[in-house]
């Protein structure tokens, strides 16, 4: 069967079971948009290419399947660089197809030419420039394979216009042949046994669960491990929802804005069972003083993570779900052989004491300014258990991660590693496209919202009823917080104004329902109103207290021992 390169590309995407793609056409990708008309693939027309990339990422988080975006060459390709880098940092399987100028004119500074493969090399797991139409099915197959296996990540396929127009003989490769790419899935049995023994011996163990748990679908295995051993679990920013927050062994989020118990239990532990996490600086604080007494078990599918920051005592390369399942067996075998594990009841008692003494705290005064934390708690109380929550980056993200009670994995979508402001709106749209059966809310900041809000036009046009809660404190809040605490209250370029833009009018102009909330009394009724709207997006402008800061906080570069609890705990916050 003869196809053009463009037809072969679309057919290859269909063979990869792509149902939805996010994109925006242009000169170099024009040939591919023609066969798209006849394809089963739904295309969502975005308003900015960055939106397409983040939507693909949100789609991937919500569904566990790769998200696909397609844009043209040059400026479109550079506009999608941020989402690629974001997905790279957070290991999200995203496949991006870019148009390229004709192969014959590459290197001549042709109109809308950019060295897309060169630019995206360091921020993709791999990328390909297609020089021969005959290679298209093979490369698409390889691209999806690389994106979704091993440590997931974004890939990019760059397709020159003349290649897209060249005829080829259709085929579909049965298997992928990449001699330099063979991820190790199964953990080493002896290492797993060693890990089980360490767990049995530990007096103050903590499970440090990261985003890898969510990606590999290891939630159930994790829960079994925790219950089998009685070891408490911290869930990182990327791993929130890996185990339900209401589970008695779940301690919540550690790190720079983690709760006291999660931070301190890691700090004092004698064994960190690290599962699909990577000792990010936002978790460890000053590395030299991080969990000084802890032995480390580190399970990761990426061998390069083992020993990158902290040398593990027991390194295990493998898929975290497969490894935990084996680990559970090994722990059971140990338990049968040597009787019960070491008694950790004193440790648990210590943890309960911390939880009682140092909970997350804020005060919503009657008639006082609206607290952002209050909005988040009310939102959680008035949304279904399986509601998907997206967020941007900054104070609102930290409050959301701290206070939202996650009950399921894959219900929390945010930009962790790169910290991309503006992530929430497009990510929420992508999630809703992937899971139309679920309610999808985004908690966004006013600064973030202004970066990507135009994608709500996309959502209105495509009837994607996402709901956006803007915690509008009229500031670039996290930056303001740092200037207040570390720059002697010298506020430099952080004020945004609560009224400019008028968020309600802006929402309406984009085809959404817009609402405003100024007082605590109106929070619940407005959320209820928003929940009833299912035919268009909703934006609520919550006017929140600009003075509110995120606590606890470990200042950048400080030791986790120096955690600041905040004014709710009196002078000094300790």
């Amino acid at each position: 069967m003869k196809l053009t390169g463009a037809q072969a590309l679309i057919k290859s995407l269909e063979m990869e079971q792509v149902e939805v793609m996010f994109g925006l056409p242009g000169g170099a990708i024009l040939p591919v948009y023609d066969p798209l008309i006849d394809s089963s693939i739904r295309h969502i027309l975005v308003r900015h290419e960055q939106g397409a990339g983040h939507m693909a990422s949100g789609y991937a988080w919500a569904t566990g399947r790769p998200g696909v975006a397609m844009v043209t060459s040059g400026p479109a390709a550079t506009n999608i660089v941020t989402p690629l880098c974001d997905a790279y940092m957070d290991s999200v399987p995203v496949v991006v197809v870019t148009g390229q100028v004709a192969y014959s004119v590459i290197g001549t500074d042709a109109f809308q030419e950019a060295d897309t493969v060169g630019i995206t090399m360091p921020i993709t797991k791999h990328n390909w420039l297609i020089s021969d139409a005959q290679d298209i099915p093979r490369i698409v197959r390889e691209a999806f394979h690389v994106a979704t296996t091993g440590r997931p990540g974004p890939v990019l396929v760059d397709l020159p216009k003349d290649v897209a127009n060249t005829p080829m003989d259709w085929y579909w490769p049965e298997k992928v042949d990449l001699p330099g790419y063979k991820p190790n899935v199964k953990g080493h049995p002896r290492q797993i046994k060693d890990a089980a023994r360490l767990i049995m011996e530990a007096q103050r163990p903590v499970i440090y669960a990261g985003g890898g748990i969510v990606k590999s679908g290891a939630s159930r295995a994790l829960r079994e491990l925790a219950e089998l051993t009685g070891v408490p679990v911290v869930t990182t920013l990327m791993g929130r929802g890996a185990i339900p927050d209401e589970h008695p062994l779940c301690l919540g989020m550690p790190g720079m804005h983690g709760n006291y118990t999660a931070v301190t239990s890691m700090q004092k532990s004698d064994l960190l069972i690290t599962l699909g996490a990577r000792f990010d600086d936002r978790v460890t604080g000053k590395v030299a003083t991080f969990a000084p007494d802890a032995k480390i078990i580190h399970v990761d599918i990426d061998p390069a993570e083992l020993g990158k920051v902290r040398r593990p005592d027991v390194p295990i390369v493998g898929d975290v779900r497969a490894v935990i399942e084996e680990l559970n067996k090994a722990v059971k075998a140990e338990q049968q052989k040597t009787g019960a594990a070491s008694d950790i009841s004193a440790w648990i008692a210590q943890i309960r004491e911390w939880q009682g003494d140092f909970p997350l705290k804020y005060t919503q005064d009657d008639g006082g300014p609206l607290k952002p934390q209050f909005v988040i708690e009310k939102l959680r109380e008035n949304t279904p258990d399986d509601c998907i929550l997206a967020s941007g980056v900054g104070q609102h993200q930290m409050w959301a991660s701290q206070l939202w009670k996650f009950k399921h994995p894959n219900t929390w979508i945010n930009s962790g590693g790169l910290g991309t402001m503006g992530y929430a709106v497009p990510a929420a749209i992508g999630a809703k496209v992937g899971r139309p059966d679920r309610m999808v809310w985004a908690i966004d900041g006013d600064g973030c919202f202004q970066m990507t809000a135009q994608e709500l036009v996309t959502a209105s046009a495509e009837r994607i009823p996402v709901k956006i809660a803007i915690l509008n404190n009229a500031y670039l809040g996290m930056v303001r917080q740092w200037q207040e605490l570390f720059y002697e209250e010298r506020y430099s370029e952080v004020y945004l104004s609560p009224d400019l833009p008028d968020y309600v009018k802006w929402a309406e102009a984009m085809g959404c329902v817009g609402m405003r909330v100024d007082t605590a009394d109106d929070v619940v009724t407005t959320i209820e109103k928003a929940n009833e709207i299912d035919d268009r997006p909703v934006v609520i402008d919550f006017r929140t207290d600009w003075r509110e800061k995120v606590y606890p906080m470990v200042p950048a570069g400080a030791s986790n021992d120096d955690i600041i609890l905040g004014p709710e705990f009196g002078e000094g916050g300790r």
Binding site: V117, G118, V146, P179, G180, K182, D302, A304, K308
Partner: protein
């Protein structure tokens, strides 16, 4: 000589692979001392001999990160004490009539070779261990070096009866 380590890396012979490897080193802030790329007896593959500054990054991280590059097929570490290292240098030295004999003498001592002769200069080829090349260039410096080029070193493990010297980090799998 700074602490260094030698990696011989078998890569797919495809466009952009050198850029991927070089880009990885700069992105992860690893320093390259020298880099030599050559074809292998199998045209599908090329071999890179990379001398890594072992002080800027733990070798283990360099190797693991390199292994993540999809066109990288196999990495072999050669510790400096366990390898045979050679390098080639071409140097144009000023050699007018009054100094020519001295330069020629040095060339003979170093078992180097005069490969081109001009009116006032000579091009000399020196091959050998990198230290020898350093010594030669130091010694001819007073005569005046017009231009100097070195290839960067290539290396193979020393042969031994003990089979453990070669550590294949990632084997070729079909």
């Amino acid at each position: 000589m700074i602490a260094h380590h030698i990696l011989t890396v078998t890569v797919e012979n495809k466009p952009g692979v050198l850029s991927r490897v070089a880009g990885l080193f700069s992105r992860r802030a690893f320093n390259i001392v020298s880099l030599a790329v050559s074809p292998t007896d199998d045209e599908r593959f090329s071999r890179m001999t990379i001398v890594v500054d072992a002080e800027t990054a733990p070798l283990e991280q360099v190797v693991k990160q390199l292994n993540k590059l999809i066109p990288v097929i196999k990495i072999t570490e050669v510790a400096p004490a366990e390898g045979v290292e050679r390098e080639l240098m071409l140097v144009i030295v000023k050699a007018a009539a009054e100094t020519r004999s001295q330069v020629t003498e040095l060339t003979a001592i170093f078992e180097a070779k005069i490969v081109d002769v001009g009116y006032e200069a000579m091009t000399i080829m020196v091959a050998g261990e990198p230290d020898k090349l350093d010594a030669f260039s130091d010694l001819v410096k007073p005569f005046g070096i017009v231009e100097l080029q070195r290839t960067g070193r290539i290396a193979l493990p020393k042969l031994s009866r003990q089979p453990t010297r070669l550590r294949a980090v990632k084997a070729v799998r079909a």
